[in-house]
Symmetry: C2
Subunit: 238 residues, 2 copies
DNA sequence: TCAAAAGTGTTAGATTTACACCCATGC
DNA sequence: GCATGGGTGTAAATCTAACACTTTTGA
């Protein structure tokens, strides 16, 4: 039974980061780097043992982005969060048991080298191997992922996944992991360069222990989200 | 002063239709056709005399799209609504005076020939000449417009603005009006044809009183929203 | 026959993937 | 030297805007 006026508004955030898993390098696609999402394991009913997105109830004195950041602070250092954007709203009256709960969902991005401390119930999960998730949270993750992939094409959103400074190789593995397919380093450099998304810093990175030419170091021109080319594309390989 | 739990959730819809205004044809851009949005004039405080988007409070037993259709039924025949999609949520605690109100906004589309009856306080307004609007509703209209323009490029969303059957000329003026710039009829036909968005019906339309070759009649292949080409573009003229 | 509207053919430009080839460094 | 990774040059494919030209109709 539903009591009028008892509707709750919650915020859910799909936080992504490109992370290097295990030792076994799999250079086939993304050089061991994988796109991961932050999940916590439910200890109490309902849905004990299933995995959920971080989030919680909206307060009456905060707007949605503020709430998302506050809720996230319980899981990760919010200063690590380089990008946060609103996705869809889930409003089915029966999407969760109990009081009617409307969920506003968000996409959050954490740059790659960061290694934030996590509570014991919280871990990163590769999006290619998600556990069983509570309620409609899996839908949120899938939607957030496709949104991220699309925006890598025509915006500078990559800045929120990459380190401050990086080589093209590093950027290539980040883009490959986030997109899920192989990205050509050569073309990535040219495309992002032409659009003014990345610029060389002038310095170079030392070459690895097995030799090789030292790589030029780049950074993103802007550190804030920007639509770079409405009609640009990063197409999957043919 | 804000009382906890008194938050209201409302729905706002920016309903667009391409309409032929006045007699003076302006073939420069869109052949007299203009993209219009449905607004009603406030008769009561606050903001008397200003123009607002249709919408209203969400009920506890309906989800957002259902609510949007119900609220809209008070303004237009909902059967005319060929497309409805969620946009952003506006959640600033002080976006409207009085009780805290969270607004979920929508984009709605009405096909071109329809001429729904409207209440006396409600009229169509060209997006190129919007009146002063209440609260943050102008922001919603602008956002909805840009979303529509973007989706005309890579989805079949045009079906929701066009008649069931149409000539390429008709479709061209609809696209031109919605996009705000001149679209080449030749290329529109080829692009949408190659993507399988439109198909010829086989019949032809009679030529006008001043002669001219009769135009082939087309229709949209699907009558439901579909992403046709993730990476396709309709670029503005160079 | 002529003007008007529709459709076809073609060109030029832009963008992107793919890949061969040259460059710089450590061992 | 030589293997290894990084960078440049370039070709091929795709797509799109622009526009000249042909086709079909009504007066």
């Amino acid at each position: 039974m539903i009591v009028n006026g008892s509707t709750v508004h919650e915020v859910l955030v799909a936080v992504f980061q490109v992370r290097h898993l295990g030792g076994h390098d799999d250079p086939k696609h993304h050089n061991g780097a994988e796109l991961c999402v932050l999940l916590w394991e439910r200890a109490m009913a309902p849905m004990v043992g299933m995995w959920s997105l971080p989030g919680g109830k909206l307060r009456s004195d905060e707007d949605l982005p503020t709430s998302a950041r506050r809720q996230l602070a319980e899981k990760v250092d919010v200063r690590e969060l380089a990008h946060l954007e609103q996705l869809s709203v889930f409003s089915d009256p029966h999407r969760v048991p109990g009081r009617r709960t409307i969920a506003s969902t968000f996409l959050g991005l954490v740059p790659s080298p960061a290694e934030p401390e996590l509570p014991s119930d919280t871990t990163w999960h590769p999006v290619t191997a998600l556990p069983e998730m509570a309620f409609d949270h899996r839908t949120v993750v899938d939607y957030a992922h496709s949104r991220l992939a699309a925006k890598l094409s025509y915006t500078n959103i990559g800045f929120a996944l990459a380190p401050e400074q990086f080589t093209i190789s590093t950027l290539k593995s980040i883009y490959s992991a986030a997109l899920g397919y192989h990205v050509d380093a050569t073309n990535l450099q040219r495309v992002l360069g032409r659009r003014g998304v990345i610029t060389p810093t002038g310095s170079t990175a030392p070459s690895g222990r097995s030799g090789g030419r030292p790589a030029a170091v780049y950074r993103f021109a802007d550190s804030r989200y920007r639509v770079t080319d409405e009609f640009a594309a990063l197409r999957p390989p043919g």
